[in-house]
């Protein structure tokens, strides 16, 4: 199946998904409320101990990386739902691209992520966070965030295709997010973590995205934070970009393979 075919069918499926989201706006509540809750808890429950005003400048980049990572669970649940209702069997019996259904989902879930990003930015402004860079840098950050949201969505797709039921997809799709988002430099400097966790955090893609976002927005770490060093921190934007490419390169093929095999056995 050609790439053109995949993009065409992905577009058809994405349009269908977006119509679905528009008609059940309640499903977006989590996508909107979750980042607000995280911003408020981290800024005001932990933030005071971590640097107050300065920490709020630092926080928003982390919240953006963490929220978009969490949004992959929506992909997992939506796809598992389509699987469970038999709609995917219907798609699988149509002469369409084998990539189209998942590509359509990972693309349309960008809508949720764009909404999340806007909510976080608005929240950030409300708590005193500021952009301290130029327009070009800001545009690059938003493009990176969209690429990251798209990439991480393929992990959600892989989970759905493996879990196959909504319940399992929902719990699996959330479970891995906590260690991945918290053993990272999203909320504290990676160098503040102990021993092996520090190494994991330094190389964690979530750290890379959070760091690249902060650098791009010109947000500094609070005075008391250890300065993260090492190649990933020094080349955060490049490393974040490479992580996105690697995630897609790994998870897109295995998600599609799972899709093909769903009930071929």
């Amino acid at each position: 199946m050609s790439i053109a075919g995949a993009i065409r069918d992905g577009g058809i499926v994405a349009r269908r998904n977006i119509l679905g989201v528009r008609r059940t706006p309640g499903a977006l509540v989590t996508g909107v409320a979750q980042p607000i809750i995280f911003v408020l808890i981290l800024a005001f429950v932990f933030g005071g101990a971590l640097g107050g005003d300065d920490y709020r400048q630092f926080l928003i980049g982390g919240i953006l990386a963490q929220t978009l990572t969490f949004n992959s669970s929506f992909t997992a649940v939506y796809l598992a739902k389509d699987l469970q209702t038999g709609l995917i069997d219907r798609f699988r019996a149509l002469p369409m691209s084998r990539v189209g259904v998942i590509l359509g989902r990972t693309t349309s879930d960008l809508v949720t992520s764009v909404i999340s990003i806007l909510v976080i930015v608005a929240c950030g402004f409300a708590i005193g966070w500021r952009l301290e860079s130029n327009v070009l840098q800001i545009v690059v950050v938003f493009l990176l965030l969209l690429l990251y949201a798209f990439a991480i969505s393929w992990i959600g797709a892989f989970i759905a295709m493996t879990a196959r039921s909504v319940e399992v997809a929902q719990s699996l799709g959330l479970l891995w997010l906590f260690p991945v988002c918290f053993i990272s430099g999203a909320f504290v400097s990676a160098d503040m973590l102990p021993g092996p966790l520090r190494v994991i955090a330094e190389w964690n893609p979530v750290t890379a995205v959070a760091t690249a976002v902060r650098q791009g927005f010109g947000n500094e770490a609070p005075a008391g934070f250890a300065t993260a060093g090492g190649w990933p921190a020094d080349n955060a934007l490049l490393y974040a970009f490479l992580c996105c490419v690697a995630i897609i390169a790994i998870f897109a093929p295995i998600a599609v393979t799972q899709y093909r095999r769903i009930s071929k056995r």
Binding site: M1, D9, I12, R15, R16, L19, G20, R23, T24, L83, Q84, T85, G86, L87, D89, R90, F91, R92, A93, L94, P95, M96, G100, R164, S165, I262, S263, K264, R265
Partner: protein, 332 residues
Amino acid sequence: MISIQGITKRFGDHQALAGVDLEVPEGSVQGLLGPNGAGKTTTVRVLTTLLDPDAGEAIVAGHSAITEGHEVRRRLGVSGQYAAVDEKLTGFENLTMVGELYGMRRREAKARARELLRDFRLDDVGDARRAGQYSGGMRRRLDLAGAIVARPPVVILDEPTTGLDPRGRRDTWDAIESLASGGTTVLLTTQYLEEADQLADSIAVIDAGRIIAEGTATELKAQAGGARIDVVLAPGADATAALAAVRSTGHDADLDERARRLTGAAADGSDGLVAVLRALEQAGVAVSEAALRQPTLDEVFLRITGLPAVEEPSEAGGAPTDRAAASEEVAA
């Protein structure tokens, strides 16, 4: 148009298909009749390229469903056991999407969707309501319309009326009949002899993953001993006397004491029924119901296999498991 040769499929220790052979000529309507768990859905999943059999070959519209899936899918329309329509889209949007996924241009798909909504009498709800708000019969018709969006030469319908009320069933039958009259080759599975009789030119009976009988509805009914007489005795009637009276007319009959029902093969059609009623009257047995009717699937099975149609625990085997379970529940 459809040619199935020796397909087998095993799920764990359950032999779902034990060597199914079936030929469906172009333009004909083939019924695949059997109880739950007989292998109907597994056969359909092989033909629709959703499942690979362990052995055997399945040719649909000139291409192998196993090795040339994409070619088969281009020539095939499928409608499932429970309508797989997108509940959040309107009927029009559902059909347009399916048309586009068959490769039609958007404008063409929209025109085709309009045409089908009219043909399937869904035009009044086609834009007004989301498919999730349709009745069961309307959803089934929409699913059926989706199967023929691209005017495929072959259409496969898996239990198109299971779970529908009588009106929904009637509507679905009409839709299938008009489809068949247009020259489309149709394979439909059903648990109801009556349905196969109504719609199919030829019927194959499947049991335990094997075709155990094939023929027209008339031939199968003849194999099952032809028409049946059913007599329900009035409350308090003497069942033993009734049985003796019925047997005196040369009919053999089984008595279901709890239901006070006598059932047996009709020897002489309606004459037999008249003879039975006359004998019962002479014996002074009061009757509350009496009928001459076609044999049921159960009775066909009893005659062909010597066993009643047994429901096996699971058929689909494919993922996801609770879907299979849910469909079994719907079917039950």
